[in-house]
Amino acid sequence: MKDILRILIAPLTWLAAFSAIYGLHGVLCASGISGQTLGISWVRLILMGAYILVILGQIALVAVLYHPKFASRSSFVRFVSHATGWVGLVAAIWSLAPVVMTSHCG
């Protein structure tokens, strides 16, 4: 089961993070938080902070999947888990990029 987990963990983490940031966005918009720091609204700052955390988390996962201590003994599982690890990272960067680009709460 650990090998299945190695394959699934990175995209699963992306999915959880993606849903969480979407939910956070909804909560922040509903809460009516206002104010700015360095010309950037607090809502966007919080979302950007979460975005960076998610990316760092996915990078850490990729590193763990490559680490000999945690990697599978099966070369096939290593290959697939590395591939899905990168999928998780790229998906996080790409799908959550709107937090730095588009208008929020409108």
Partner: protein, 827 residues
């Protein structure tokens, strides 16, 4: 033992009852797979006829063919049947028939569950068909949006048929998903490590996991909407704290993964059939597995792209637009892997290959229009037009029907042991291909000209007349093509033209048996050393028939197989299956009585049905098990392993774990719904909050700690040979404390019919109460088993399974009570 003698003995042990009586008592996966597929194709024909009625209606302007009310029922039933009664059951049927054969096993993990799922599907589907015949079919579209489907705008019974019938059918999908997941992970031939699994098994595993996590949100949505319709709990009524957008979230949390749940098995068929047709191994096996896994996960991040026009903030739209474009990448990897396989091999243009080529043309177009509608400004223009209808048909017909026809013709010789004599199939393919593209290319066009989907008619001055007529003519050509496929298959069945055992020279294990397959699949189980065992060892079928594999000597009239370690494929357990029984059909009929009682509002029969299900479930489990410890079993070839009952991680434990995964998704969706209403719905705060009770909260939390702790202590005591009854009684007390706290929450939820807050607390409490009572019932069952002598320090499988349920009840009990009482404290 000679091969013929072995065959006769195994047939005696494994065969279903002869004649039509066997249909009702069989638990054999070959029988049930065929029954699933036949029933699914029956529904396909019904859904297809409804499509013809739609096209007849739209062929001319101001058509009087069907009135608007009937037309609404026709298109709703067309979508519902094709999605829920054809596509998913076809996957289930194919997987049920095929998996044990390609994995080198004798049956699926839980044969009675397979039968139960099949009969739930038949009864649930029949409910919908009866509604249609009576003219009271659902009429709110296959995604049944409230407020249109709510009690105010759809007061009749039509919508209830959809909500209750589909939920009943989804029991079948969940059952099959648990079955498939455990079977792929555990019921494989020795030596079949993850890298040696047939590619179809990977796709089936991924699809089953998607069903386990994708279907529960829809089941929840259906439950909530039915509660609103039947008892006035206002989850989707804006003026009472509900929000109809909650339905859309729950529906599309299911609905978008559903598209991939339909596509991925078809991709599995292509990845299996295409290399055989091209006479070369699949190019990039590892890449294809990684792409399929990625596609499955990404598909869960797309649901809002069906809601681009609902007024969601731009940033939310952009998240899902970005994720929607991303999904093209793993799809593209698979497409290129298939193209590379064709490039590397020598494609043989036989009938399955023609359908695969039809898939390529059609699905790629559907994928490209999918990228178009993933772009928000385009979607705003095309939303709810015939363009979208055309897009989804390109994806689903291209991505599912063509591959399934390829699979049908590929495995037809396996189903029947015969080869095709007449050549209608090639002509049928041409008609289907031309008819489909004429129909739906035209529909793209008329959609871009502004024709809305689901309109019953239009005026001549709209300028859509010619295009609609072309589309309708195309659809009838398509229908003739499909009728010819049906005729071809019937002729195939009637023509006794014996075919060779492996007509395609394929390398996978399903061709290592005689065809049509014997009830036991393999006379002895193979040891696998590669992905294509028949190419590695062409003598394998003969050696297996001679009993040179595992479990080659039938004993005690047991239906035996073995399980393996998930990663390595090393044998780890010996399994004895149950025999033929009518228990599944009886239990699904009683389950049907429960749903029918709700539908017809005969509430006095609901407890009768619940009691019936409990009694039958009790009997179901009670019949399993032994009163003596089994020594490690000899599997042959010098290998001995313990029986599953002696293991803490028995197949039942794995099945429970995956069932609870689906259950947890349901619960997570419920919490999401609560949070969504609280933060997004306009009618909040509620007029009254729950008065938090430290006593009830404390009792529930203490019960959770007690039940979980006592159950663990009981397991340890049993393992050491001690008496477990006292620990079980403490566990029972803990579960009852959780039940008390949840029941108290239900009784004190503030005015559930007046605001969605109270309604949600009521449902949360009900969910907790149900699981606490279920855990308590299981503990009582376990006490009875201990007293009956069915457990010992060695036979511990049942303790592990009950522990999972007790822990689950404890965890959700704690979460429910914390969420509910915290809302009271915070107010």
């Amino acid at each position: 033992m000679k091969a013929l003698e072995r065959h006769r003995k195994l047939t005696t042990i494994w065969a279903s009852e002869p004649g039509f009586r066997g249909w009702f008592s069989t638990v054999n996966h070959t029988d049930l797979g065929r029954m699933f597929l036949t029933t699914a194709f029956f529904f396909f024909i019904v859904g297809g006829l409804l499509a013809m009625l739609i096209r007849a209606q739209l062929a001319t302007p101001h058509s009087a063919f069907a009135g608007a009310e009937i037309y609404n029922q026709i298109f709703t039933m067309h979508g519902t049947i094709m999605m829920f009664l054809f596509a998913i059951p076809t996957f289930e049927g194919l997987a049920i028939y095929l998996l044990p054969k390609i994995l080198g096993s004798r049956d699926l993990a839980f044969p009675r569950l397979t039968a139960y799922g099949y009969w739930c599907y038949v009864f649930g589907g029949s409910m919908l068909l009866v509604a249609m015949v009576l003219g009271i079919a659902p009429e709110g579209g296959w995604f049944m949006y409230p407020p249109l489907s709510g009690p105010i705008h759809s007061p009749g019974i039509n919508t209830d048929f959809w909500l209750i019938g589909i939920t009943f059918v989804e029991i079948s999908a969940i059952a099959a998903a648990v079955e498939i997941t455990v079977s792929v992970l555990k019921y494989r031939a020795p030596g079949m490590s993850l890298d040696k699994m047939p590619i179809f098994a990977w796709y089936a595993l991924i699809t089953a996991l998607m069903i386990l996590t994708g279907f529960p949100p829809l089941i929840l949505g259906s439950v909530l909407l039915e509660l609103e319709r039947a008892f006035g709990l206002p989850f989707f009524q804006v003026d009472l704290g509900g929000d109809s957008l909650l339905w859309q979230h729950l529906f599309w949390l299911f609905g978008h993964p559903e598209v991939y749940i339909i596509f991925l098995p078809a991709a599995g068929v292509i990845s299996t059939v295409l290399p055989v047709m091209c006479r070369t191994p699949l190019l990039g096996y590892g890449w294809v597995v990684a792409a399929a896994v990625s596609l499955a996960f990404l598909s869960f991040g797309l649901w809002v792209h069906h809601m681009f026009t609902t007024g969601i903030p731009h940033m939310g739209l952009a998240f899902f637009s970005a994720a929607s474009t991303l999904v093209a990448v793993p799809t593209g990897i698979q497409i290129f892997a298939w193209i590379g396989t064709m490039w590397k091999g020598k494609p043989d243009l036989r009938l399955p290959m023609l359908h695969i080529l039809g898939f390529f043309c059609t699905f790629v177009i559907g994928g490209l229009t999918g990228v178009m509608v993933a772009v928000v400004p385009f979607d705003w223009q095309a939303h709810d037009t015939a363009f979208i209808t055309a897009h989804l048909h390109y994806v689903l017909f291209g991505g599912f029907v063509f591959p399934i026809f390829a699979g049908l013709y590929y495995w037809l010789p396996h189903f029947t042991g015969r080869q095709r004599f007449f050549r209608l199939g090639e002509f049928a393919f041409a008609l289907i291909f031309v008819g489909f593209h004429v129909t739906f290319l035209a529909m793209h066009w008329v959609g871009l000209l502004g024709q809305r989907r689901r309109i019953p008619t239009y005026a001549p001055e709209d300028g859509w007349t010619t295009i609609n007529l072309i589309s309708s003519v195309g659809s009838f050509v398509l229908a003739i093509g499909i009728a010819m496929v049906l005729l071809d298959v019937i002729l195939h069945g009637l023509t006794f033209y014996r075919g060779p055992r492996n007509p395609w020279n394929a390398g996978t294990l399903e061709w290592a048996m005689t065809t049509p397959p014997p009830a036991y699949n393999f006379a002895s189980l193979p040891h696998v050393t590669g992905r294509e065992p028949l190419h590695d060892d062409p003598e394998l079928p003969a050696r297996l028939a001679r009993g040179e594999g595992y479990l080659g000597t039938p004993k005690h009239d047991w239906r035996e197989t073995l399980t393996v370690d998930i990663a390595s494929g090393r044998p780890d357990m010996h399994v004895i299956y149950p025999g033929n029984t009518r228990l599944p059909i009886v239990m699904s009929a009683v389950t049907g009585l429960f749903f029918l009682s709700l539908l017809l509002k005969f509430y006095w029969t609901v407890p009768v049905a619940v009691a019936g299900v409990i009694c039958l479930a009790w009997r179901w489990v009670w019949k399993q098990g032994r009163k003596d410890d089994l020594e490690p079993m000899s599997l042959g070839r010098g290998l001995k392993v313990a029986n599953a009952a002696m293991s803490r991680r028995s197949p039942g434990w794995w099945g429970t774990a995956f069932l609870l995964t689906a259950n947890a998704t349901f619960f997570g969706s419920l919490l999401f719904g609560f949070a969504f209403l609280w933060t997004v719905a306009p009618g909040w705060p509620p007029p009254a909050w729950l008065a938090a009770s430290p006593f009830e909260l404390g009792a529930g939390l203490a019960g959770a700690v007690l039940s979980s702790g006592a159950m663990r202590h009981t397991m340890r005591t049993n393992r050491k040979g001690g008496k477990p009854v006292l620990g079980l009684i403490l566990t029972l007390a803990g579960a009852l404390a959780i039940a008390f706290a949840c029941a108290a929450l239900m009784t004190r939820a503030p005015a559930p019919v007046e605001h969605a807050y109270g309604a949600t607390l009521l449902v949360l409490g009900g969910y907790g109460l149900f699981h606490a009572c279920l855990a308590a019932l299981m503990v009582v069952f376990l006490i009875a088993r201990v007293r009956g002598g069915y457990t010992s320090s060695g036979r511990q499988a049942e303790f592990s399974i009950v522990t999972l349920w007790v822990d689950y009840a404890a965890v959700i009990g704690v979460l429910i009570l914390l969420v509910a009482h915290a809302s009271g404290f915070s107010s």
